[in-house]
Every structure is written in structure tokens, then in C-alpha cells.
């Protein structure tokens, strides 16, 4: 229960605004789900209804799963996202620890560079990365999808901010207990920063699961494509104007994210605000 309650008129106004913005964000999703269970004839009907007259869901979803290699795309998505996240944590946690807790010349300069990298949009780097990937010879492989994201300035920044809130005495105690610096990172800092790690994990997974731009550049092989790129190819190539199966495929692609987010919501919020309030 909040500490102060609003007077009814302003409470109504506030809730109305919240409901409308919430609805604006939700409608496309609801529309997508609604279309995914409608037969083709109903999709382009002038009249407006969320629920189909004739339930066509099974056909649409079967088509989505069988006409395109959607399971393959999803598997690619899982492999790429898991690898990116694992490597990001492996790289970012020690870097963030060094920036937060170790004293060495040039630390502030390095942190400033991380901040600059945070400002740059990833798209700016796509051409150099493409050339680099070509030179190294990893284009059109999983490595091409994973490697540009391994060093995440956002991850370093977020972890550093969280690590800063951990008292130095804990690190001193760990050193006296005989832990090496890397052991401190993995056995003390990372478990203590779990909310931040989970928040970062959600961010990372959502953005790379949904990523379209870089995979479009990096891979050609259908068997390597992550879900959004796969759906795009599916739309252009085979489905044509068959929106029912397309929406079914989209629904299937978003579903894992929604489930993951809802189950990790508590940590997610805590991780983003944890450093600020304490």
C-alpha cells in the first residue's frame, strides 16, 4: 500500500493515462495473436473483431512450423543468444571489477572509453565489422553472429556500477581468506551482483533474439538465421500475403521472451534500480 493515496479525480486521471498508454503498447501484440488464429478470409474483413468466427489457429501454427524452418531459426536464436550472454559475462565481469575496485594508472581513461562506446550505436560499426569478419573469414558462421557482441560496454558499465556498491571490506576479507582476484570476481562479486546479472541477461537476450540488422549483413545461410531474419525471409519467399501463418510464427518467436521476462521481472527491476536507491 502506498504511503499517500490520491484524491479520486486525480487517481482516475492517472489510471486513465496509464491504461491508454498500456493499451497502445499492448494492441499490436493482441492484434498479432488475434490474426494468428484467424482464417485468411477473416483477416482482411472490414469489420473489427478480436476473436475469430472460425478458429483457424491450429492450421496457421502448423503451417508456420512446417512451411518454414522455424524450429531451426529458434534453435539458432537460442545458441547465439546463450553464447553471446555467456561470453559477455565472462568478459564484462572481470573488466567491471577492475574498473570498480582495482587501482591502476589509466583506469579513468579506460572507463571514459567504455562510456564513449556506450554512446555509439552498434550500427555505426557494422561496416568495419563486416570487413573485419570478411578478413578473418568468419562471415556466414555462428561466430559472425556472436563475436561482435562479446564485449558489451553496457554490461561493463552496469556491472561496474553494481560492484561499486559492494563494500571494499568484503574484497579485503576475501583476499585474506586466500581468494585470487579472479576468484573474487566469480565467487564473491558475481553472486552478490546477481540481480544486475539477471537484468543484463534479459537485456542482452531480448536485444539479440530480436536483432535483425547485423544478422542480415553477417549470414546468408538459412540454417544459421536467427528468428527475426528467418521470419523476414519466410514472408518474402514463401508466405507471400499469407498473414495468418506469419503472425503465428511471430507469436512463437516472441513467446519465449515474454515468458522469460515475466519470470525474471522481480530481479530485472531490482537490478536496474538497486545501485541507485541503496
Amino acid at each position: 500500500m502506498s504511503a499517500h493515496r490520491l484524491a479520486p479525480p486525480s487517481a482516475i486521471l492517472r489510471h486513465a493515462v496509464l491504461l491508454i498508454t498500456g493499451a497502445l503498447i499492448l494492441i499490436p501484440f493482441v492484434w498479432m495473436v488475434s490474426l494468428s488464429i484467424k482464417p485468411p478470409g477473416e483477416i482482411f474483413r472490414a469489420s473489427f473483431s478480436f476473436w475469430p468466427e472460425q478458429f483457424y489457429g491450429i492450421e496457421n501454427y502448423t503451417k508456420a512450423l512446417t512451411n518454414s524452418p522455424l524450429p531451426r531459426y529458434m534453435l539458432n536464436g537460442v545458441i547465439v543468444c546463450a553464447m553471446i550472454l555467456a561470453l559477455q559475462i565472462i568478459v564484462c565481469a572481470p573488466a567491471a571489477y577492475a574498473l570498480a575496485k582495482l587501482d591502476f594508472p589509466g583506469r579513468n581513461l579506460l572507463f571514459a572509453m567504455v562510456l564513449i562506446a556506450l554512446i555509439l550505436p552498434h550500427e555505426v560499426l557494422s561496416l568495419p565489422l563486416f570487413v573485419l569478419g570478411y578478413q578473418v573469414g568468419i562471415l556466414n558462421t555462428y561466430a559472425a553472429l556472436i563475436f561482435p557482441y562479446v564485449v558489451s560496454p553496457f554490461g561493463i558499465f552496469l556491472f561496474r556500477q553494481f560492484f561499486k556498491t559492494i563494500p571494499d571490506d568484503v574484497i579485503h576479507a576475501a583476499r585474506l581468506d586466500g581468494l585470487s582476484e579472479l576468484a573474487i570476481v566469480w565467487r564473491i562479486m558475481v553472486p552478490m551482483a546477481l540481480p544486475a546479472i539477471i537484468a543484463f541477461g534479459i537485456f542482452s537476450i531480448v536485444s539479440h533474439w530480436n536483432s535483425l540488422f547485423w544478422p542480415l549483413i553477417a549470414v546468408r545461410d538459412q540454417s544459421l538465421m536467427p528468428p527475426p531474419l528467418g521470419i523476414m525471409v519466410f514472408k518474402n519467399g514463401e508466405a507471400g500475403n499469407d498473414y495468418g501463418p506469419l503472425m503465428a510464427a511471430s507469436t512463437l518467436v516472441v513467446a519465449p521472451l515474454i515468458i522469460a521476462f515475466l519470470s525474471a521481472q522481480r530481479w530485472f527491476v531490482e537490478g536496474l534500480t538497486g545501485g541507485a536507491v541503496k
Binding site: D169, R175, D177, M192
Partner: protein
């Protein structure tokens, strides 16, 4: 088992000196307290001992071995922190097992999942568990082993922190204000427990605090630090009754020692606020002194005269067993505080004029630079000459 030799330690953060030429010998099994106000460098010195900070100059030896540049874990010291510094994601049992696991298991054996299937891990693990259990029982936290630090009270966390330090049987215990986060009652109790622990283990304790009652009650010797300097190292009794320096005298003792500015008139007589005081020793006339008088050194007398301070009662504090009487003595800057027996209370009222006598041997004399002048020093000139030689 280890004695500690601290030799000419210097430390500065940037251009700011924190420790200046600190030297101290600590005997094996001794309980030494570093006492000083916050910011005096006592915690820094402790961290240097632990190897968590590197000194700018000087050298430290623990048990014959010079440990400069030796990593904290190789120094055989354990530390208890003011904030306890427990690992919040581990249970009490895991917290206490960490130092043992790091020492007894190889890095491969410590790996998650794989480690426990390697030969030997299980046996060592069982032994660690047994040692943790024994230490926990000794500290009365055996029933808390499954809990996490967040579920414990301050006193329990404190015990876990002590347990984690104790479990690996270090040669030296370092404690950095371990009691300052506890409430007053628990602090007194833990004070006794730590002292008892020291007696039982017989290892060297270096204890940092700003609380003089902790220092006085627990230590074999107290090292008083101020502004990065070690002013005096002596037994609690000596520190209180026989301070070397005005700053030590003023820091130790509650209520604070009365400091009266005086001018030496004739040999053996000093003038304070218009009255003459016989002072011990043989001090050259004309120089300025500070006379330190502990509140309990006063006794009530009937009438004024030489060696007696006269003033009006400004405030009376009843402390139960004692009475602190604040006296406004004309010619002195601060009120003079006398500690009298509580039975005197009915005879004393605010505003009343009191006469306080003091025996010459209870006077502590300090030169203008804060240096203590002792009765057996022949003359202030001798003291000054000696000081010149030192410098």
C-alpha cells in the same frame, strides 16, 4: 605464534601523509590496541599489517619473517572487519569454510560440479565441515550454520565474522573496530568474549578502536595514535595515570582531564587563576605550563587557600555512583570538572561556591609543546636539552 615488528612505517595517500614514522614491537601472544580518533591512521596501519595496503616506507615483520610485499593470504593473519564483511550469498557454514577451502583444496578440487568428484575432495570437505562445526560451537553459533548473514542479528554476524577468522587458526588476529556496530549492552558482552578468546587462543591480537573503554579493558598494551603518529605505547594503567603527552592525557579519560594554564613563579610554585600551586619537580621560573588534573584527583575542602581551586558550581551530573561537578573557576577558560562521591550530592547545589583541593603528586605537568614534564626531571632545561638532542 608470532611477534610483530613494525619498523618506521610511513604511508601517504598522494601528498597527504597518513602515517609518520610508526614503530612498534608487539610480543607473541600480546593483546595490543591501536587507539585514536577517527582519521588518525590506525586502520591504515592495520591494513598495512594485513597486506591490504602497501606502505610508502618502512618494514613489517611477522614472526621473524619480513612480510613487505607478501600477499595477504600468505601472511598467516586473519582480520575481523567493522562491517563484518560476510559474504551475503553464502550460509554461515559456507562463509566459515571459505578460508579452509582456499587453503586445503587445490584449485581443481574447488571447481564447481567437477571438483567434488575428484579424489580426496570428499575427505578434506568432511574435515573442513568438522572444523567449522567445532569453531561454531565454541562461539555459540552452531545452530546458525544453515542461515545466511541477512537472517542474523548484529551480534550473531559479529560472531560469524570472528569464527571465519578463527577457523583457520592464524598466528595473528587483526580486528578493525569489530564492536562499533553493536548496541552498548552487546558491546560490553562481546568485549569480555573477545578478551576471553584471546586468553584461550594465546595468539597475538592487534585491535583497532576509537573507544577508550574497549582499549582500557581488553588490552595488555595500548598504543595511542594521533594524526598518524604513535604518541605512547604502554599498559592501560600507565596510559591513564602517566601519559607522556598532553594529547594522550586529553584523549584518555572521561570526563576529560582538566587542563589549567599556569605560569611558574618561584621554584616549586605555579600560579593558576590567582592561586598558588605547589608543583613537583624543579622547574625554571617564568615558563608556561599546563597542569593536568584528573576529575577524581580533586577532594572537597572547607576553605580556599594555596593548592586549592575555588569556584561556583555551574552544573551537577549524577552518574549513579559518582557525581560530576562542573565548577566555573575565575581565570580559567573551561569549567573545571570534579568527580566526587555520590554521597556528597545533598551538600552541593548549583551556584554554590566550592573549594577543591588536589595533592601535588596527582598533578600532571605538560610543557608548552605538550611534552610531559616529570617530577624527577631535574629542570625544564634538562628536558629541553634532551629534546634538542632527539631532534
Amino acid at each position: 605464534m608470532a611477534a610483530i615488528t613494525i619498523e618506521k612505517i610511513e604511508k601517504s595517500f598522494g601528498a597527504t601523509p597518513v602515517l609518520r614514522d610508526v614503530s612498534l614491537d608487539i610480543a607473541d601472544g600480546e593483546f595490543v590496541t591501536l587507539l585514536g580518533p577517527s582519521g588518525c591512521g590506525k586502520s591504515t596501519l592495520l591494513r598495512i599489517l594485513a597486506g591490504l595496503e602497501v606502505q610508502t616506507g618502512g618494514s613489517i615483520a611477522i614472526g621473524e619473517r619480513v612480510v613487505d610485499g607478501v600477499r595477504p593470504k600468505r601472511r598467516d593473519v586473519a582480520m575481523v572487519f567493522q562491517s563484518y564483511a560476510l559474504y551475503p550469498h553464502m550460509t554461515v557454514q559456507e562463509n566459515m569454510a571459505v578460508p579452509l577451502r582456499m587453503r586445503r583444496l587445490s584449485s581443481i578440487q574447488r571447481l564447481p560440479l567437477i571438483g567434488r568428484f575428484l579424489p580426496g575432495t570428499k575427505a578434506v570437505g568432511a574435515e573442513i565441515e568438522k572444523d567449522v562445526m567445532r569453531t561454531a560451537k565454541a562461539l555459540g553459533i552452531g545452530h546458525l550454520l544453515g542461515r545466511k548473514p541477512g537472517q542474523l542479528s548484529g551480534g550473531q554476524r559479529q560472531r560469524v565474522a570472528v569464527g571465519r577468522a578463527m577457523v583457520r587458526q592464524p598466528a595473528v588476529f587483526l580486528m578493525d573496530e569489530p564492536l562499533s556496530n553493536l548496541d552498548a549492552k552487546l558491546r560490553v558482552q562481546m568485549r569480555a568474549e573477545i578478551k576471553e578468546l584471546h586468553d584461550r587462543l594465546g595468539v597475538t591480537f592487534v585491535y583497532v578502536t576509537h573507544d577508550q573503554s574497549e582499549a582500557m579493558t581488553m588490552s595488555d598494551r595500548v598504543a595511542v595514535m594521533l594524526d598518524g603518529e604513535l604518541l605512547q605505547v604502554a599498559s592501560p594503567r600507565e596510559i591513564y595515570a602517566d601519559p607522556d603527552d598532553r594529547r594522550v592525557a586529553e584523549f584518555i579519560g572521561s570526563p576529560k582531564i582538566n587542563m589549567l594554564e599556569a605560569r611558574v613563579r618561584d621554584n616549586g610554585l605555579a600560579e593558576i587563576a590567582g592561586t598558588s600551586f605547589a608543583i613537583p619537580g624543579d622547574i625554571t621560573p617564568g615558563i608556561s605550563l599546563a597542569l593536568g588534573i584528573r576529575p577524581e584527583a580533586f577532594h572537597l575542602v572547607e576553605a580556599g587557600g594555596d593548592n586549592i581551586l575555588t569556584g561556583a558550581v555551574r552544573m551537577i551530573e549524577h552518574m549513579g555512583s559518582d557525581l560530576y561537578v562542573h565548577l566555573a573557576v575565575p581565570g580559567t577558560e573551561h569549567p573545571v570538572i570534579a568527580r566526587l562521591l555520590a554521597e556528597r550530592a545533598p551538600q552541593i547545589a548549583s551556584g554554590q561556591t566550592l573549594h577543591l583541593g588536589v595533592k601535588p603528586e596527582r598533578l600532571l605537568l605538560f610543557a608548552a609543546d605538550g611534552h610531559r614534564l616529570r617530577p624527577h626531571d631535574h629542570a625544564s632545561a634538562t628536558v629541553l636539552r634532551m629534546k634538542e638532542r632527539v631532534q
